[in-house]
Symmetry: none
Subunit: 108 residues, 2 copies
Amino acid sequence: MKESESGWTEIEQKVARFAFEQAYKREIEALMSQVRHKIDTLDELDDIWQLHDFLSARRYEVEGKYDFKYSILLFIFAGLIKDGWLQLNELEGLDEDKLAKVAALSRM
Amino acid sequence: MKESESGWTEIEQKVARFAFEQAYKREIEALMSQVRHKIDTLDELDDIWQLHDFLSARRYEVEGKYDFKYSILLFIFAGLIKDGWLQLNELEGLDEDKLAKVAALSRM
């Protein structure tokens, strides 16, 4: 089993990538659902600019958050668990130390 | 009848304000209709960001255009007529000189 430069085995990399993509997919689906609901309820002139403000904020947040870098991945996973986009057991396959760190960080 | 500093009577100011608001309302309603249509094609994340880009561009354009200043109002009205958001006869109540200028500018 090859260790990546950053200390992640190949299996860990696969687990991490899959978990990351699952969380991303869930959050984006929730966002699409929110956007559809907002469009359905477009009523006043200001609603259109409120929709724009909402998209600006969410885009900034989502693009900032889903930055797949091994050096910060444990923090990212902890945040995703905290926000409900990921479950700790979906990270099974990572070593005990990484799992313990994510669990601890997610409770902070 | 009081003349405003900028050479618009009170009645002209009311006519101008009402026409301006009508045009804005029509343009935003058209924009809302376009956005509602886009909901049907929201499928991927990129569609959401494309909607965001679309709204950013339209907001920049609309907010730039609907800048109620008497010094540039005849140009604004001419542009709104040209783009179909306003009819010349909705400016009735402005003096002949202003109407003639708007009509001429709108044909340029």
